[in-house]
């Protein structure tokens, strides 16, 4: 058989792998010529990141050296561009007048990095991240030092930024989306990645749009963002995606879409021409990862060596980030839609987050952060569409544990283990040691077992096994040992441990809390998110950014939702006092917006009922214009301060109860609390302000002020208890603020003051406030928090904040939904 001539355009990963696969099948079949655009032998492009980071050298990543070409009789034209394909004559024409005839031609031209058409994109120092020359330019910039900016928070962009940071630059990643690698990661993993990169000297700017690249004397000097920020830099890397290189194919008249269109044998519409790798488009998909390229090359080699059965059916995709010490793996789809189920495992000690998504008993996606060792296993289960129902319980703990227990249900598997079988690998603890410790020392909790045996005290991955041993050894006794109720189904922690951890570990965001406390869902639920949002707000005033998506609708819309979906609006009336001007403004608003009901509330204010959501900002604007602010009638926060007319008017009044009420309200309004807080101030023991059934009440007497706490007149009727008695109005204000701060710091979310008091005891509250210095510290913390709280939320929204909350997404549709 005569040797055929095979020409490969592209000396990259696809081109050379295709040749290797052909040589492996039928070494003598073809006389091979390879054209490469880069003036060097074939290297592993995906290892450019470690080269940039200085963790590998170019020699380390060479796949085929010059000897390989020689040994296999391959002619390599490196650094010589192909100009045209003459399909009629079956000849490839290259630079320097070179013409090479072919019987079979493989296009493996790869892709070009996308360059954003920003002003200044042609400045010196603006590079992409594609080949060794780009790496060279980045390394030279890093040698000088300074700042680097990378546009694009995908795989390649992050690896570029990490590499530049490793070389001593201050690197910043600018990403359009609000989550890094948003195609591969969920927001929990994205948060951990952002954190891990910060620890490695890479800053991230999310939800950022680039506007222009700034330069000086033709050299890049910074990136300007749409919001006006300027990030200075001496090198700017664009890593925003790739575009299949189809120029030659298009010029030769081959069918192209996004890439060069190929069939299942990787053949283009010219039977002598094939395409593989990133330049090819198969069944509408142009791949940009290496695994599908290997699959394509195997098929292509089969097709070119006479294997009639060779066919490529597309590839599942998986991704691994190559940043040292940051283990990230993602495969499949984690936003699975109907019937999907999440299994989440977190290990705060090791910084691990794992999420496996199941649908119909099969793995459909996996996101692993911090420990990606089992990525390949989940990926295999996914590709095989294996039924994992039988191993569901242990699936999230990985292949080793699951296969160690295969065929057994988890509890009987643990029961069946021999006493000398190791449970905790970190500390070398066997089953027998644990069970005998439980039995002999009467251990009943995981913490106790950890304390005595050290089992599961290090990495924590054997925690479920240790818990099963506890359950097996104690039977029902284990269940009985559970502490206070968990916050919700997403966690086994109660409110107190969560609040303590937020402060002690300085957790300042919701994803940070969920990771540190090993939440079992990716992003919480409607019970825990509002609670965490409050706890964070209380712990870090001025620092924590309120998450409005974790607020109940009333607090998100700053009005009370009614049964028909309209809202009610209650402006604040300080201490229940109002003026003719305010009343006129309220009447005008009611007329102007055709508000159907106006009602006097129990808290000495006026309620406008039946306001359409779209009208809320306009209603507030008019009320603001008359000097009124939100009454927070919707808030888990300070509601009303009810007063009587006191010594100002009343013949029995002993003190200025109205004045004290107004003073309290003006100081305390806007504060968020675990549940609603209502105050009352009565000017004498006749108690016309009904202060003794309020959360906090003041009853004025001749000699001073009785401060009451823990009343309720709702679901439960409760008279207050007397907290203390003080002589002056100042002391009354300090004491009440300190008391409310104590409640803010100790109360469980949705727990009213009287329930908190039942739980901790009146004596404990009195103790906490007894010492002047302690009381002063509580008051100071309240006052500090109030610096960020006494802001009218209505005025902010009138000014345009969160407009998307109030406006419909689009104008009214003409047709009904199908």
């Amino acid at each position: 058989m005569m040797t055929e001539k095979l020409v490969v355009i592209g000396n990259g990963m696809a081109g050379c792998r295709a040749v290797e696969e052909i040589l492996a099948r039928d070494p003598g079949r073809y006389e091979i010529t390879i054209f490469g655009a880069e003036p060097r032998v074939n290297y592993n492009r995906i290892m450019l990141s470690p080269v940039l980071a200085g963790e590998k050298t170019f020699d380390d990543i060479v796949i085929n050296d010059a000897a390989w070409y020689a040994d296999n009789g391959i002619v390599l034209h490196a650094g010589r561009a192909v100009l045209a394909i003459d399909r009629a004559r079956k000849v490839v024409e290259a630079e320097g007048g070179l013409s090479v005839p072919y019987d079979k031609l493989i296009l493996a031209c790869g892709s070009d990095p996308i360059r954003l058409p920003l002003p200044g994109a042609d400045l010196k120092g603006v590079v992409t991240f594609r080949d060794l020359d780009d790496v060279g330019e980045m390394v030279r910039a890093a040698d000088v030092g300074g700042e680097a900016v990378v546009i694009g928070g995908g795989l390649l962009g992050l690896e570029a930024a990490y590499g530049l940071a490793r070389r001593g630059m201050k690197a910043t990643v600018v990403h359009l989306m609000d989550v890094l690698m948003e195609r591969q990661l969920d927001s929990a993993a994205g948060f951990l990645l952002t954190q891990a990169l910060t620890e490695r000297g890479v800053e991230t700017v999310l939800s950022a749009q680039s506007e222009a690249i700034l330069g000086q004397d033709g050299v890049v000097s910074g990136l300007k963002l749409k919001d006006g920020r300027v990030l200075p830099c001496s090198i700017l890397v664009m890593a925003v995606g790739i575009r299949p290189n189809t120029a030659l194919a298009t010029a030769a008249g081959l069918a192209t879409g996004r890439g060069v269109i190929v069939d299942d044998q990787m053949r283009t519409d010219d039977p002598a021409i094939y395409a593989v790798g990133e330049c090819a488009e198969h069944r509408g998909i142009a791949y940009g990862l290496v695994a599908p390229i290997w699959d394509m090359c195997r098929t292509l080699a089969g097709a070119l060596t006479g294997d009639a059965g060779a066919a490529y059916a597309g590839s599942h995709l998986s991704t691994r980030l190559k940043v040292s010490g940051v283990d990230v793996f993602s495969a499949g789809n984690f936003a699975g839609g109907e019937g999907c189920e999440d299994i989440v495992f977190r290990d705060a000690g090791r910084g691990v987050y794992k999420r496996v998504v199941l649908a119909g008993g099969k793995v459909t996606g996996a996101v692993l952060f911090g420990d990606a060792a089992d990525g390949g296993w989940y990926f295999d289960l996914m590709r095989q569409a294996a039924d994992v129902t039988a191993i569901r319980e242990t699936l999230i703990f990985g292949q080793a544990i699951t296969e160690g227990l295969s065929g057994l249900d988890p509890s009987s598997a643990v029961a069946a283990m021999a006493d000398d079988q190791e449970i905790c690998g970190c500390n070398g603890v066997c089953k027998g040691q644990i069970t005998s410790a439980i039995a002999s020392q009467g251990l009943t909790t995981l913490d106790a077992v950890r304390g005595v045996t050290k089992a599961s005290a290090s990495c924590g991955s054997c925690t479920p096994l240790v818990e099963k041993l506890l359950k097996l050894t104690l039977g029902d006794g284990f269940q009985a040992q559970t502490g206070p109720a968990a916050v919700c189904k997403c966690t086994h922690h109660g409110h107190d441990p969560v609040r303590r951890a937020i402060v002690a570990q300085e957790l300042k965001s919701m994803p940070a809390v969920m990771q540190a406390l090993e939440w079992t869902t990716p992003d919480g639920c409607a019970s825990c998110r509002p609670a965490l949002n409050y706890y964070l707000l209380c712990a870090w005033p001025g620092d924590y950014r309120d998450d409005k998506q974790s607020r109940f609708i009333n607090e998100r819309a700053h009005a009370n939702i009614q049964k028909d979906g309209t809202y009610s609006v209650v402006p604040r009336m300080w201490g229940g006092m109002t003026t003719p001007a305010e009343l006129r403004a309220i009447a005008d608003v009611a007329d102007k917006f055709a508000i159907p009901a106006v009602k006097v509330t129990g808290g000495q204010r006026i309620d406008l009922l039946g306001v359409k959501k779209d009208d809320l900002p306009a209603v507030w604007a008019d009320l603001n214009a008359a000097g009124m602010v939100s009454g927070h009638a919707y808030a888990k926060g300070l509601r009303t301060v009810k007063t009587c007319v006191g010594s100002e008017w009343c013949r029995f009044g002993t003190q200025d109860s109205t004045g004290l009420g107004i003073r309290l309200e003006k100081f305390m309004w806007g504060s968020w609390t675990p549940a609603k807080v209502k105050l009352g101030v009565s000017g004498c023991p006749r108690n016309c302000a009904e202060a003794t059934c309020k959360d906090v009440g003041v009853v004025c007497v001749d000699s001073g002020y009785e401060i009451h706490v823990g009343g309720a007149a709702g679901l439960h009727i409760r008279g207050t208890e007397v907290l203390t008695k003080v002589a002056t109005e100042d002391e009354a204000v300090w004491t009440i603020c300190a008391l409310v701060q104590l409640y803010r710091e100790q109360g469980w979310y949705l727990e009213r003051i009287y329930k908190w008091m039942d739980r901790v005891g009146l004596a404990a509250i009195q103790d906490a406030l007894a010492d002047d210095a302690d009381r002063r510290a509580l008051y100071d913390r309240f006052a500090y928090s109030q610096r960020f709280s006494r802001i009218d939320p209505w005025a902010e929204r009138v000014a345009g904040r969160h407009a998307e909350e109030f406006n419909p997404l689009s104008r009214r549709l003409e047709f009904a939904p199908a």
Partner: protein, 115 residues
């Protein structure tokens, strides 16, 4: 005799960008049959339902979105976004109608009937 019933054609109507909806949030789209609620989960998945809780008609668009569900703001029914069905103990008690929704290049397209 067979009668040819002509299926109404679906009109795909652009109502905005996926990113116009906050993650773990929803927006309303007014229609002749009442509001449509378009949801976006923490994972960035989007769903559309008629904005009516099967329990007492509460506006689901105003609820807290968590996982692939929304909690109704009126009485706390948890509704599955993909099916509009109540979950947990309330399963089978009714359904918020699903509205056809497609995403093309980051834009949200609602499927409307031409008649």
């Amino acid at each position: 005799m067979s009668v040819l019933v002509k299926e109404p054609a679906i009109i795909w109507t652009d109502v905005g960008a996926v990113t116009d909806i906050p993650r773990r949030g929803a927006r309303r789209v007014p229609s002749p049959l009442g509001d449509i609620a378009v949801f976006r989960t923490g994972d960035g998945e989007v769903f559309a339902l008629m904005d009516v809780c099967p329990h007492k008609g509460g506006p689901l668009s105003q609820g807290i979105v968590h996982g692939r569900s929304v909690t109704c703001p009126l009485h706390g029914r948890v509704i599955e976004l993909a099916t509009g069905e109540a979950t947990g103990a309330d399963r089978g008690s009714g359904c918020a109608p699903v509205v056809p929704l497609e995403v093309r290049e980051g834009r949200l397209l609602l499927g409307l009937a031409s008649r």
